[in-house]
Amino acid sequence: MKTNMPLSKPIRRFISETERMLDTEITLLRKPDAAPGGTLVDVYTYNIDKNIIIFPANYIGLLKDFVIAKQCTHLFIKGAAAKKSGYKICSFTSDSVYTGMRQIYLDALKDEVNKEKKLPVKKLLEMLFILYRQFHEDINELPWNPIVNARIYYRMSQLRKTQLYILLKDGKQDMDEMSDMMDIVPRRYFVLDKSMFYARDLYLAKTLPSDKLTPVVNIPQMKKFDHLEVKEMLTTRWTHTAWYQSKVFGDNMLTIMEKHLDVDWSGDATLDYYATLYETGVSLTNALLAYMSMKDWFIWEKPKHLLAAQEKMAIYEQDALKRIFGDLIEDT
């Protein structure tokens, strides 16, 4: 481990354990402009020599420790998969982009019929790929979130209070995501996206219910959550938002999550255990994609496939538009 920063004991131990089991090196990097949830740049995804966990410079204590724990758990899962069965992620090809964008277009047409204010054609075309990418990003992240959170909750109890705050914050952010696109995005996709986050929050509410939010009652903004358990907090919040209509889909996704995340969260930190967590994430991802009728939108491939695909994103988008609209689309 390469760092000159203070770390609490469980984190220090966890990093060393991860390095030893994966036979790799982890560098911690503080950056003023880092994403609030931190970033993991790992040897299993990128062509680099050592893993780097980047976190916001203003996180100096337990917030920093939690971000590191989260990214390190994810690294352990990736590394165990790479060492055991092979690490793959959801990638895309020209064909899969076409399949996804075409489906979004057909659904958008259905929506447009009932809209008083029609979407300008240019915006509609732009929206197809933006929405496709949004789901790609979400499906590569969301299924791993409950896995990583549940694991940390059971293995690093010292971080529970911090974890509750981060869940509260992330959940709010995810709830608001895409809100500015509400009038543009076809209803079906808006609801499906919200439903994934609803299911995640409700799953975590059931899995990590025992701690109250009492450490933060001195903070005025959090007073309203005083004496609330995390379960109450997450469920109450969803039932009080406009996205409660996501409940039907969200409850179905919750059932899927509960079925697939049948894991002993306190298991010993072995390569086999973390490889099992990876397989669990893969099966949950597939189940969610199947439920959303997006099975052919993405393919499981090695990370370098995705890196190459990302380079060709603009080409794939143009190809898909040409296949959907034929000569109506001009070369740009």
Binding site: N4, P6, L7, P32, Y59, I60, L62, K169
Partner: protein
């Protein structure tokens, strides 16, 4: 050069520190200390830079200089605690961090250093209290930062 000219040097050094340009910051702070060795802030800032550069023993010396000028300099006590912790000197690190929080109870970093030192010394109950205080302060700062980001 008048003594108050150290202020722009300190400000520029702080900017470099935020940009993690520690060598540049160090040059300016060396200059500031030569200009006015009685300015505690220059010593404290140089200790901060040296801590980032993992020159912990030198950082402790600089903190000592800052504290000799102003023994109630909370940030210097906090930085000294951090440097001592990094050298594995948990007992004096705890003492420095305790002094820091007694002077400034809103120093999240000092509470955290207290927590990790107490944890290393096997005093987990006391560590938990220090961690809780540190977390509370960190969350307040985070909420403020978040509001600023949203306003932007």
């Amino acid at each position: 050069m008048p003594l108050n000219d150290v202020v722009p040097l300190q400000k520029k050094a702080e900017l470099y520190i935020r940009q993690t340009k520690y060598r540049e910051a160090l040059l300016l702070l060396d200059q500031a200390i030569r200009l006015d060795p009685k300015d505690a802030k220059s010593w404290y800032l140089r200790a901060s830079v040296k801590t980032e550069m993992e020159r912990f023993a030198e950082a402790i010396v600089d903190c000592g200089e800052a504290l000799a000028i102003n023994q109630n300099y909370a940030d210097a006590w906090s930085k000294k605690g951090l440097a001592l912790y990094n050298l594995g000197q948990y007992q004096p690190a705890l003492a420095a961090a305790t002094r820091a929080v007694s002077l400034n109870a809103n120093d999240a970093s000092a509470w955290y250093i207290r927590g990790i030192c107490l944890e290393e010394m096997g005093k987990s109950d006391e560590a938990e209290i220090a961690y809780a205080k540190s977390l509370e302060l960190e969350i307040i700062l985070d909420i403020k930062d978040e509001s600023k980001r949203i306003r932007k």
